[in-house]
Structure formats: C-alpha cells, structure tokens
C-alpha cells in the first residue's frame, strides 16, 4: 500500500466538484480529438510515421542533438546543456543575475515544473509569473498543474471566480470572459515589464536549429518576443530531424491536445533580434535539459521518450478521469509533474521506480491511452514493465517487481497451483468446497459477500466457485480424439491502405472556410482598394491609430493613403513598445497561407515587427491570393522561414479554453483577425 497515493485517490473520488470537472474534461476532449482526426485523410498512417520518426530520433539522439546545437549556434542562439535539474536551474539563475532581472514572465513549460524552477527563482528574489491562463490560475492558488496541457482542469468557474476575487480584487463573477479579460490586463503589464521571458519548446528542428513553440493564448509569443532575453527550456528528446517531420508532428499534436488542426500560434523561432529587426529578444538561450533522459534512452522504457506531450492519454484514461492529476503523487506525497498514463511511466523512469513506480499499478490496462497516442506509444506494455521493475535502474534480469506484499503472496500461491494440472485440480476442488460452504451458510445465495479489505468486496460480490469445475465436467464427456492434422486458415489480411487524393482546386475557398470557422474575417479586393478596406475596418471600431509594418513591405502608397484618411500610422519597435501598447489595431503582411487549416504565415525581420500582429486587439493581415498553399508541410518548406528570425503561423484570433474548457476569444494576442486577400487577376 502506498499511503500518500491511496489517500489522494480517496480524496479525489470524494470531491464532487472535481468529479464534475473531470467528467466534463473527458467527455469534451475525447470528442474533439476524434472529430479533429476525422479531418485527416490517413490518420493511422500518419501516426505510424510519427512513431517511426520519434523512434529514429531517440535511437540516434546524439547525432541529431549535435546537428541541432550546431545550427542553433549558427543562428545566434546561445545553447546550454544541463545534465540534471540543478544544472538547469543554475543556468537560468546565472542568466537572470547577469541581466539584473527582477521580473520573469513564463509561458507553459513542463520541464520547468520538472526541475522545480519557480521556487528556486523565487527563493533568490526573482518575481516569476506564469502567463498561460491555466498556469496563472494554479500559480495564484499555490498549486502545481493537474494536467500537462490544461493545468487548471481540476477547477470550475466558481473556483476561479473566487480566486480572482481574492487575489486580483475582481468582483466575484462566473463570467469566464470577464475573468479572462482581468487576467489579460494584469498579464499585459507583466509582458511589457518582464526582463526575461521563459518558454518551453514543443519541438526543436535539427536541420535548421529552429525552435517550435505552440500556444493558443498568445502568451508564448509574448514571452519569446517582448522581453529582452528569452530562455527556452527544452527536454533533449524533443528533436525532430526536418521541417517535414515537424509538419507531421504538428498535424498530430494540436489535434490530439485540443482538437485543433493547428494551434492559434505556431512560433518558429530561429534567431534573436538582428541588427535590422525592429523587435524580438536581444538574446535567445536554449537550455537542453537531460535530467535522466539519456539513461531512459538506454533502458527498456525508452519508448516513453517518443512522447510529444499532447495529453491525449490523460483525457482518454478512465483512471485519470476518476482521480485527476493531483492524485498522482510519489511515495513521499510529492506531486508527479507528469500525470496519467504517460506520467506513470515517465515519472518512474526519470525520477525513480522506488518513488513513483506505484503509479503504474493504478491502471486497468484498458489500452485507451495507447489508442489515443498520436505517436503510438505502447503505454500498457510500458506500464507493465514498470510494474515488473524493469526500467532505468534495473535491466530485465535484475528486475524487482513493485507488487504489494499480500498480492505477491496471493499470486505466488496461485502460480504454484497453476503450474501443475494436479495441484490446479486440487485448488479448484478446495475453491468448490469453499463455495458450497458459503452457499450453505448464506442459505443458498450463489454470491459471496467478501469483506471490503479484500479489495474485491469493496463494492462487488463474488460468484461462488463451482463445485465441479469445467475440467471435471469435460472429462465426464466422451473424450474426442485429439491430435489431427489440420491446416490453419490464415487471418484475412488488412486491406491495402489507400493514399488520399489531394484536391488542390479552390484553395482560396478552402482557406476562407477554415479561417472563418476559426472566427477570422476574410475579404477579397484589388491591391488598389486595400487601403479602403482597412479604413472600413478601423472606422467600424472607431480606431484612428494603427501600428504597422514598414511601408516598403506593403503595397505602394498604402500607408500614405491611410494617413491622408486621418489614420495615424506608427512603426512599433522594442524601444517604443510601452508607449504604443494602447494602439488597438496592427497591420502586417502574410507571406503565405495554409488552406487546410486557415492559417497565415507572418515573418519577422527588417521592417516587419512581430508585435504588430501580437499586441493590438485587432490584427489586419494582407495576403496575396497566389500565396495560399494547401498544406502545412508546403509552407514549412519555404526558404523564408529559415531566414527569418521568427516565423509565426496564425490560425484565427487568440483563444483559451483553460476555464471549464469554455472557449474564450481574445486573450493575450488579438481577439480579431482580418485577412484581406489581394486578388488582382
């Protein structure tokens, strides 16, 4: 018995509020994931490919890491390697001291939870603020995230309403958009004032040294763009070899996590701010955290390193649904950073079988996790290995199972009986006698009411063992002649997997439908009319100021015309950002678009401030009709992406669903996205 774990389980099961929250999570998340996968022509094939890519990466991690680090270095990124949690924390601390930092803004990074970064920084006097809405909520509550993707999944709107009343002075409300707005305005100041932004990394692309960070709220973009220094924390296993592989992973990650085709913001960060760039961090650091991963690589749990942290296995798991993330605790009661099926393997693998191995026993091995996993990790197999004590500390031969003592004795007795037909028959006869006695005592009831401590008797009755088992009955029949030659009929083989046909007609129509489904607005006009379209949007919102890209990046005389119409145009830079934070609209140009997901590609670089598409409430992007491509993989192959300091794929207005999974539009990034397509043919 693991007491801390057991008592957390009981607490969770008795918490009606938590049960409602977890039920809602499971029901919603499973549905949206399944629906999102239906939009893929060949999900099974993609998942198998993704599995193979991840397998190859983990097998040849040294080679990929070297390439990645070399490229990142060439891109001007400062790369650090941390062997363990302490080293990682110390590296962050050194940078923070060196920069004289006071305030640190963080977007979601589970690695930082794993290395316990926040308490260490706070102990040294740094103020650390989580900016993902869910993380912000749990930080205000002094809790750890209860889910790797949706940290506040254990809470309901009333909990958040009370919390914001107490901590932010917001009058009590159950209106989620009001709460989200309160967080937005508090955190906006944090982004502007922060000396350092810390983010996680979803994928590092070896061939280009690019960091990929996906967020929906826009906080990930903020912390990687606005503060002068950006530190990215990355588990060493989060590498993909190429941009094509990244496209594959991105086709699976958001679908599995939140049921989106793409997250609202997919940031592809290549270099820090360069000489001509108007904004972006002066310094970009990557800390590559090992913290036990290399050892796991060499163990029989290495498959767990394929994980891309989508959280689908948590949502699918019937055990997680009953107990929630906070119940997953170590032997000493410390919360497990990673929860659910993946956590029940990752935690024992990285942080010790002794401390966390018992988590793997809390599974019915139903396989819902494996079924949900976008990279086809055989989680039940790994859970069983942990149970058998197979893992980092013990190769197979030395494996020491973590089976509870009483159960072990029971199974051992059973196995003595079951390894000899004779003993087995005797045991069955004894069970039959026990059954008959029980029936006699209970006056004919064929059910045995076992006591609760037996485990089974907690909530179930047990059927009476038969006085005469099947063995005995069968032998009473005429024994048919055994042993004849028979050919086996082979299984019908799986029908060949057909490759999908890609319909590349009507790209623009497809793009429009997808963009509008995300809540974006779409207009078509000639290049000459663009200024007028923009003016209409601004006038509808009573806006007289706009932050815009440089005139040379936009159609001829566009800004002049806007100016003549009474619109003041401001070019934002890192230096004037505070003064211009009030500006409500931003104008940019899209370098490409993805029809399949309704996404636009925005590149940073000279004359193209990233903040214009990030800080204002309204983002207006100009797009050329011919730049619309069908798929993500085509866009990721564009050379411009690798040359830009940062490239952002934007899929609709910024959003969150961190409170009760209720969709709220407009968090840290723009709440409105207007795409004006210039079609001059």
């Amino acid at each position: 018995m693991v007491d801390a774990f057991h008592s957390r389980i009981k607490t969770s099961l008795a918490d009606a509020n938590l049960q409602l929250a977890l039920d809602a999570n499971a029901e919603k998340r499973i549905k949206v994931r399944q629906a999102a996968f239906e939009s893929l022509p060949n999900p099974k094939q993609l998942r198998t490919r993704a599995h193979n890519v991840r397998e190859d990466v983990i097998e040849h991690l040294d080679v990929y890491l070297e390439t990645f680090i070399t490229r990142a270095h060439e891109n001007g990124v400062i790369v650090h390697r941390a062997a363990d949690a302490n080293q990682a924390v110390n590296i962050v601390m050194e940078i923070a001291f060196q920069k004289g930092a006071k305030l640190i803004a963080k977007s979601k990074t589970m690695v930082s939870e794993e290395i316990r970064l926040n308490p260490a920084l706070e102990e040294h006097g740094f103020q650390v603020i989580e900016t993902d809405l869910g993380e912000y909520i749990v930080q205000l509550r002094g809790e750890a995230p209860s889910h790797i993707i949706t940290p506040a999944v254990h809470l309901r709107r009333q909990d958040v309403g009370k919390l914001f009343e107490e901590k932010l002075g917001l009058p009590y409300t159950e209106d989620i958009s009001v709460m989200t707005n309160a967080a937005r305005s508090t955190l906006r100041q944090v982004f502007l004032d922060a000396d350092i932004g810390i983010s996680g990394v979803n994928f590092g692309v070896a061939e280009t040294g690019t960091l990929c960070v996906v967020t929906n709220e826009g906080n990930g973009r903020m912390v990687t763009t606005v503060p002068r220094t950006h530190i990215a924390l990355m588990g060493i296993e989060r590498i993909v070899p190429t941009m094509d592989d990244l496209a594959l992973m991105l086709s699976l990650l958001p679908r599995s996590a939140t049921g989106q085709k793409l997250s609202v913001y997919t940031s592809l960060l290549t270099s820090p701010r360069r000489e001509d760039d108007p904004d972006g961090p002066q310094e970009r650091h990557i800390i590559m955290v090992d913290n036990g991963r290399n050892e796991v690589r060499g163990s029989e749990l290495s498959e767990i390193l394929f994980c891309i942290r989508c959280g689908a296995c948590l949502n699918a798991c019937p055990v997680f649904r009953e107990i929630g993330g906070h119940a997953y605790v170590g032997r000493d009661g410390t919360g497990s950073t990673y929860q659910g099926p993946v956590g029940s393997v990752v935690s024992p693998a990285l942080f010790g079988q002794c401390e966390y191995g018992h988590l793997a026993r809390a599974s019915s091995l139903c396989g819902a996790c494996k079924e949900a996993c976008p990279v086809e990790i055989d989680l039940p197999k790994l859970l069983l290995r942990v149970r058998a004590g197979i893992g980092v500390q013990a190769p197979r031969v030395l494996a020491k199972p973590n089976t509870p003592k009483l159960l072990k004795i029971g199974v051992e007795i059973f196995s003595v009986a079951a390894t000899s037909p004779k003993r087995f028959a005797v045991a069955q006869r004894l069970a039959g006698l026990f059954g008959s006695a029980a029936t006699f005592l209970s006056k004919g009831d064929p059910w045995i009411h076992l006591p609760a401590f037996s485990g089974w008797g907690y909530s179930k009755d047990f059927p009476r063992p038969a006085a005469k088992p099947f063995h005995a009955r069968y032998n009473a029949r005429v024994n048919p002649e055994a042993d004849e030659e028979h050919k086996l009929i082979p299984h019908s083989d799986a029908s060949a997997i057909s490759s999908p046909k890609i319909d590349d007609e009507n790209l623009l129509t497809k793009f429009t439908v997808e963009l509008e489904a995300l809540g974006g607005k779409f207009y078509v006009c000639s290049t000459n009319e663009v200024w007028h379209k923009i003016l209409e949007i601004l006038q509808a919102h009573d806006i007289k100021e706009i932050m815009s890209w440089d005139a040379v990046t936009l159609p001829d005389r566009l800004l002049e015309k806007l100016n003549e119409a009474g619109i003041q145009v401001i070019f934002p830079t890192s230096e004037n950002i505070r003064a211009n934070n009030h500006i409500r609209a931003g104008l940019t140009g899209a370098s490409g678009a993805i029809a399949e997901s309704g996404s636009i590609l925005i590149l940073g670089g000279a004359g193209q401030p990233l903040t214009a598409s990030l800080l204002p409430e309204i983002h207006i992007a100009l797009l050329r009709g011919k730049d619309v491509l069908l798929q993500l993989s085509q866009v990721l192959q564009m050379g411009k992406i690798k040359q830009a300091p940062a490239a952002i794929l934007i899929s609709g207005p910024s959003r969150t669903a961190d409170i009760e999974m209720t969709l709220t539009i407009g968090v840290h990034g723009p709440g409105e996205l207007h795409v004006i397509c210039m079609n001059d043919e």
Binding site: I9, K10, L13, P318, V319, E322, R361, A362, S363, S364, L365, C366, G367, A368, E371, L384, R387, A388, G389, R396, P401, T403, P404, L407, K408, V411, E412, F414, S415, A417, A418, T419, S420, P421, F424, W447, A452, S454, G455, W456, Y458, S459, K460, D461, F462, P463, P465, P469, F470, H471, R473, Y474, P480, A482, D483, E484, E485, H486, L488, I489
Partner: protein, 242 residues
C-alpha cells in the same frame, strides 16, 4: 472434415462458470468444429504478468504452452484478455529466451478468441440461436483494442432470432476490472464499474453480453451488490439457446 479446435477454457470460466464452458463446447460443435480439450491446461499467466511478477507468469505461460503443444489445430480461447495474453504478451514475456519465444510464437499464431474464430475462421454468424428480450454488448478492452475484435461478436448477436439489440452507451469504456487492478485499487475500479452499470441501465437492456469472463465477473459482482436486475453473460450463453 471438420476443424478440430483445442479449447483453452481459461481459469475463470473453468472454476466459476463451468456451465458456460459447456455452452462454448456446444456452440463450437454446432458451428461445425470438433472440440478437443487438452487436459493439462491451467492459467495463461495473465494475473502474474499484470501483477508484475514475470518469473511466475513465465512459469504459467510455459505450463500453458506445454499443455497445448502436443495438440495440433487452432487454439480457441473464450476470453479476450487471455487470448491477447497469448497472442501479444507472451512475446514480451519471453523476449530474452529464444527457445521459448519460438514456442510461444507458434502458439500465438494459432490462437483465436472464441467469437473471432466462429466468424473469421469458421465463417459462421447465424447459429440458429433464439433469445427473447433486449440485449446489449460490452466491448472488452483487450478484445477490442488489443485483438481488434468487435464486428465478430456483433455479427453473432445480430444473428440471434427475436433478440432486440440495443447499443450500450460508451461500450468501449473499461468496466474497471483490469485483473489485479480491481483488488489493488478497489476505489477506482469501483468508480469505473459504477459508470458501466449506469450505462447498462441507460441502454435499457436486461442482459449485457461480453466475450471476457473477467468483465462478466466484475460487472455481475457490482450488479449483484447493488441489487440490480440486469446481468452480464458470456456470448456463448446466448448463442447456446436454440
């Protein structure tokens, strides 16, 4: 010439449900198979494997392999998780033992779950069975996810005369059994079982059919404790009634 099948009755059916075992034999015979019952069979080793006790699991698996090796022909197992244990987990269990791995894989290749065997190998879906009443079907986890068997038991139930089949809401959700899990974590197991029972009630069926004796024991144990009238039965118990 009829196919002779080697029946692996499994320890739960053997000890708790011998009548179902007899129904299985009758149904197989009605489907045109001859049934042979290798006498030295006991348990496939799944309880020990799931408990983490691989040394014990290996011994039971060896016992099972030895018991079936002298008898040719397909091995039919009327329980999804036991069939999955032989088909998939024996390879894991004997990964470091080439000799036994080969013997295990030979057995795995000729092992079928009961409903899968009837439909895919014997090509039977209509066994002339009759059932008056409303039935529903619980997809057992190992059967559905590990063996990919779902259409077969459904086809067999569709062939039962007079039976009114209704869909079980969230049919593929685990019932909470999970072998040793149900006694190690009775609280969680119980919560999962309660959901299953709620869904059975919502389906309106009086009988829930399953192809796994573990699920049946778990669901019935809960139904009986709660004084519910619905019952879980093995698919052979339905197919046996003509």
């Amino acid at each position: 010439m009829p196919t002779t099948v080697q029946l692996f009755i499994t320890c739960i059916l053997d000890t708790l449900y011998p009548e179902t075992g007899e129904a299985i034999v009758r149904v197989l015979e009605r489907a045109g198979a001859r049934v042979s019952f290798p006498p030295n069979q006991t348990c496939c080793g799944q309880p020990a494997f799931n408990a983490g006790l691989r040394a014990q699991a290996r011994k039971m698996a060896m016992q099972t392999i030895r018991a079936f090796e002298p008898y040719h022909g397909p091995v039919v197992v009327p329980s999804g998780s036991c069939a999955a244990m032989i088909r998939h987990s024996y390879a894991e269990l004997f990964a470091d033992d080439h000799k036994w791995l080969e013997r295990a894989s030979k057995m795995a290749q000729r092992t079928y779950e009961f409903s899968e065997f009837l439909v895919d190998i014997l090509g039977v879906t209509n066994l002339g069975a009759r059932y008056e009443g409303r039935l529903t079907y619980h997809s057992s986890c190992h059967l559905f996810r590990d063996l990919g068997v779902d259409r077969q038991p459904r086809a067999l139930l569709a062939g039962v005369y007079h039976a009114e089949f209704v869909e079980l809401p969230n049919s593929t959700d685990c019932c909470g059994f999970g072998g040793v899990f149900s006694i190690e974590h009775p609280e969680i197991s119980s919560a999962m079982m309660e959901r299953k029972i709620e869904n059975i009630e919502r389906s309106g069926a009086s009988v829930v059919v399953s192809c796994d004796a573990g699920c049946i024991t778990n669901i019935n144990g809960g139904l009986h404790r709660k004084h519910k009238n619905q019952r879980a039965v093995h698919i052979a118990d339905i197919l046996d009634k003509v």
